[in-house]
């Protein structure tokens, strides 16, 4: 077992004995289910109305009416629940002084940071996999285009992982878990608002910069089924930047 394996295994073990994962999981899956349910009900109402009006069998677009809507709204839910997953990562190690054990073991800081990040991404992936039940059940009743569903999941994965990376840094900055959670929530919210601000500025250089820094337009494109390299680069470089920042924060902490 490499050190990263060992650390990830321990991290997951600690996650699954703490209630936070179950609470976050239940809230996330519950909201996903509710959002999907509402979207489906609304879509079928719309279909019913169209059938009454035109007296023919109406073909409604499940992709637009259900999945896109759910994916958009889910972004907001992620912003609220993912900081709860990351808040304990470093904060707790610092509080319990177990950080001293990690930093005096023959492993590098990069391995510690990587393992912490991977462990929350794994938990998040488990949650995402569980939500796949909804499209699978739906596909038994209606036909829809799987392509935007897949890219939507890619968007969720990248978006979530980016938020988790932000939370990783926040957790390294403090030994108070509540502060860590609020900090990551604040940064994510700021990134969101930056995008909204950018779009009001419209076609100006500043507007473009703000829109690029914010995740909104990158997320939108992926959810609409468009996979652009620049959006992938945005998410991957964002995560790399956060990884590097977390590394620096942990390292700087030792220098006092």
């Amino acid at each position: 077992m490499t050190p990263v394996h060992t650390l990830v295994a321990k991290e997951l073990r600690c996650f699954f004995v703490s209630p936070i994962v179950y609470v976050v999981g239940a809230v996330f899956l519950g909201i996903f289910g509710l959002l999907s349910y509402w979207a489906v009900v609304e879509a079928s109402n719309q279909a019913l109305r169209m059938m009454q009006m035109t007296d023919t069998f109406a073909q409604i677009n499940i992709n637009d009416l259900v999945f896109r809507k759910v994916f958009y709204n889910l972004n907001l839910v992620l912003m609220l629940v993912l900081p709860l997953l990351t808040m304990r990562l470093f904060a707790e190690e610092r509080k319990l002084r177990t950080f001293e054990l990690l930093l005096t073991s023959p492993i590098g800081i990069n391995e510690i940071v990587t393992a912490k990040f991977l462990s929350v991404v794994i938990i998040y992936c488990i949650l995402l996999t569980l939500t796949a039940l909804v499209p699978m059940v739906l596909s038994a009743y209606v036909s829809f285009d799987w392509h935007p569903v897949f890219t939507g999941y890619l968007a969720l994965l990248l978006q979530g992982a980016f938020m988790l990376a932000i939370g990783l840094v926040a957790s390294a900055l403090t030994e108070n878990q509540i502060i860590a959670a609020f900090l990551s929530f604040g940064v994510i919210l700021l990134l969101w608002l930056l995008g909204a601000f950018g779009s009001t500025l419209g076609d100006t250089p500043i507007g473009h910069v703000f829109s690029y820094i914010s995740f909104i337009e990158h997320y939108d494109r992926l959810v609409r089924g468009l996979v652009h390299v620049k959006d992938l680069i945005y998410y991957l470089s964002g995560m790399a930047l956060m990884w590097f920042a977390a590394h620096q924060v942990v390292d700087a902490h030792r220098w006092n």
Partner: protein, 315 residues
């Protein structure tokens, strides 16, 4: 084995330790003795490569503690001031995690775990969650963690703090059993612990080394005076000079409100008798006369202020 040269560590404006140099030979047990805030933990953290010194160099087995951290960390077992425990894991899970972190192979890990659980008396609680264990057991898990990968160098920061007397004896026995095959540095603020366990004692006071000596010589240096506390019903106006005039008395100091005086005297004088006679002669009414043990503070004052001539002692 351990080589520390002119090490200074500053936390921002605070100088925690200043110009500390010492070395420890292979197989030696050395104690850091000093009151809280002396800089013991800081020195140990520097040795473990947890943080870099502001100035100076530290070496373990020839490797620089900050430039070759991996080589150094493979060779040390470290018990921090508060044991670094994951409260939600069982003792067994925790030790498995630590062993893997230290790079032990599976077979070796299984073997070492059995041995260490036995050595630290944790066999019965190995499947209990650490968060449910008592303080003494947690400390033992901390020690088990430090010795798990059988490192040649052990750095133990206050290993017996917060334990009850029986547990202290057990832990000291454990440390003694590791002696010889391991190079051990432990810190303590208890004088008797340092002298009971170690071949050499490094006394740190306010970030500086006050003395490095064997326990025997240390006690010899401390043993030329005794301290008594004298309480009388009523005192004379010039009590202090009068007491000082008694042969053998070195220092008198009066407690502010009560009629209590702390008298320091040379060991060879019959000071108890002389003091009693003095009190009786003046009809002061003796309430109490007892000898006080030297506090760690006294030890430092003595070691830092004693002139070298004091070293010549008949013991």
């Amino acid at each position: 084995m351990i080589e520390v040269q002119h090490v200074t560590k500053q936390y921002g404006p605070i100088t925690a330790i200043q110009d500390i140099s010492f070395s420890v030979k292979e197989g030696e047990i050395v104690a850091f003795l000093g009151p809280n805030g002396a800089g013991k933990t800081t020195t140990m953290r520097l040795l473990t490569g947890y943080m870099p010194p502001t100035e100076g160099t530290l070496r373990i087995a020839g490797y620089d503690c900050f430039e070759s951290p991996i080589q150094v960390k493979q060779r040390i077992g470290y018990l921090p001031e508060s044991p670094p425990l994951y409260l939600e894991l069982t003792v067994h899970e925790y030790l498995t995690f630590v062993g893997r972190l230290k790079g032990l192979s599976s077979e070796l890990l299984t073997q070492r775990k059995c041995r260490v659980l036995e050595q630290t008396g944790l066999v019965d609680v190995q499947h209990r969650v650490i968060g449910h264990l008592s303080r003494g057991y947690r400390q033992r898990v901390g020690i088990a963690q430090a010795i798990l990968h059988d490192p040649p160098v052990l750095i133990l920061d206050e290993p017996t703090v917060g334990l009850d007397p029986n547990q202290i004896i057990e832990i000291r026995d454990l440390i003694k059993s590791l002696a010889g095959t391991h190079t051990i540095i432990l810190s303590t603020h208890i004088l008797s612990e340092a002298t009971a366990l170690c071949q050499r004692v490094i006394i740190i006071h306010q970030g500086r080394i006050a003395a490095i000596d064997t326990p025997e010589q240390l006690s010899a240096r401390l043993r030329h005076s005794q301290k008594l506390s004298l309480t009388v019903k009523q005192s004379l106006p010039d009590m202090e000079p009068q007491l000082r005039a008694i042969p053998g008395v070195q220092e008198v100091c009066a407690a502010p409100s009560s009629n209590t005086f702390i008298v320091e005297a040379s060991l060879d004088s019959d000071i108890q008798e002389d003091l009693t006679q003095f009190v009786v002669k003046h009809g002061l009414g003796l309430l109490e006369l007892k000898s006080q043990s030297l506090s760690l503070e006294d030890v430092f004052i003595r070691l830092t202020h004693n002139t070298p001539s004091n070293k010549t002692d008949k013991s």
